[in-house]
Assembly symmetry: C2
Homo-oligomer: 337 residues x 2
Amino acid sequence: MSVTIRDVASRAGVSISTVSRVLNGTSPVREEKRQLVLEAADALGYSPNPAALSLLSKKTGGLGVLLPFVGGEFFSELLNGMDEAAQELGMFLLVSTSHRQPGEFRKAIAALDKRVDGLVVMAPELAREEAASLLRTKTPVVFLNTDARGLEADVFNFDNHAGAHALTEHLLRAGHERIALIAGPQDAHDARERLRGYTDAITAAGLSTDGLVYSGGFTREAGFSCAMEILEATPRPSAILAANDYCALGAISALHQAGVEIPDEIAVCGFDGLASAAYSVPPLTTARVPVQEIGYRAIRRLAARVDGNASDHEQQVVPVDLVIRGSSAPAPEAVEA
Amino acid sequence: MSVTIRDVASRAGVSISTVSRVLNGTSPVREEKRQLVLEAADALGYSPNPAALSLLSKKTGGLGVLLPFVGGEFFSELLNGMDEAAQELGMFLLVSTSHRQPGEFRKAIAALDKRVDGLVVMAPELAREEAASLLRTKTPVVFLNTDARGLEADVFNFDNHAGAHALTEHLLRAGHERIALIAGPQDAHDARERLRGYTDAITAAGLSTDGLVYSGGFTREAGFSCAMEILEATPRPSAILAANDYCALGAISALHQAGVEIPDEIAVCGFDGLASAAYSVPPLTTARVPVQEIGYRAIRRLAARVDGNASDHEQQVVPVDLVIRGSSAPAPEAVEA
DNA sequence: CTGTTAGCGCCTTCAT
DNA sequence: ATGAAGGCGCTAACAG
């Protein structure tokens, strides 16, 4: 049994209300008793029971984070930024995953609800209606990289379209005319947007995407096997735009194994701007997303909404940076970190 | 205001205890009322308030995870395994970081305590006495990769010594006589153990480590800059054992940039067995640690202890696997995933 | 079987 | 300025 406010009260020889008043500074208490209480609390190592507090205040001090899955540097960085914000706010993070399964998604939400004051939800594969239905609970929600625009919620989405568009244009400018896309899972909003960005750029250049779009995924494995396929194609593409950095890294590994020179024979671009991308061989051209910063801002925003300090809904499309490195440039001179 | 047990009771026309009994199956209730209650609960979308439960039961359903920091694939995989276990158990994870700072460490513990039923603590830089002092609270603790052997707690440590020893021997067997070590932060238990493993192997071979130990770190940046230093050394080492995979990947990047052939001119080994290591160019020889599995087991173990189902304290040194790939072998044939 | 009651730890009126 | 009492939502005796 843990030490309660009653223990402190009896040790200090006062009532529990006095203890409460001293500890919370709710109303003035004679200095003499004040000291007594403070000493008693300190001696006993008292700290209030969060459950009791939460029962009264209807607040938990917790923020829920629901991710499609935890894995890879992307989520690490995201959590990193979130944790930083949470620590500053004196709140804590309840992390859970949906494995991209609607069923698990709902279960996770149910489990999290009531244990947290708000939710950050990243669910690229979530249909807009489902996102909308989530909003019917009164729990504040901040969506990340989710198709939730126009909804009554805060939304931070990366500019997947612009990023893919810029990367494709970069390759076009370098003279590539057959640019393959290793596409991500098409049930995911971000993957669809990247495909759209790629397609728009190719089309605008008067070229066609016919036979150039490979059904891949966000993993190294997908990048590896798609790259193998691409090597068989005739005419063979001279450049690859991958679904993300991991996918690109998998492709690079395949090309290296096949003895294909990068970027001379085939150029490769990724997406996300992971730390890994700066240290690959050769260093990877990519579209850098400020992942950690977004994690940080999402939590700050959520906390503000929980406190009622957030008036309008912020719906932002976060710009991404084109980072050109050796995997797409003919003569890489140095690692650009 | 959320729907309470009282709302369900009045809707079903019964008392709140009946509702409680039906929902918890505590004691038999006439089928007729049972249905009424079930329907009412369902219609109202009732779910019990965790804070109230927790106030009664002294259990929160939460497990705290305290990490040195969140970043990189290692922690992703760890959390992945932990999340899997937590979901199976119907518990949730409260994640926090200490940034390897004793002050923040204590603060994080204080914040987590009482909100969780148990704690998984990974703190390689924690002195044994501090670990011991953590145990004085009644909260069950499972230590990960922490110097806590002999303490009254469950401990899962990776066999850092054996891993480093095996990697060094592998390099010695390949004929290397000047093997440089890029050492990790020496205030960290795991880094010290790896240094010891390396030193023991070198010494056992009748060689010396003089001038071969570089003060690096667990990051790509450290690996990169140490590799640059190593290239300047005379006589130049013919192999590098890095503090971990990220460090090794940084070193590989530096060597590549300097035009040094791997493994022909310099062989490189990492430690951890990250997914990245299998896809680097060339693929990285490393000591694979079952990170995800350890995360899973740590949580299961913690839950068992919380439930009182764990009698003795399990103190395990988890074996690591030597994974030999192209970065240390003369003729890599294929990526070994 | 089922309703009533007493807390779990705390804050907040309401008296004093 | 301070103590007593009520109640947050729920479960577990305790009476019926």
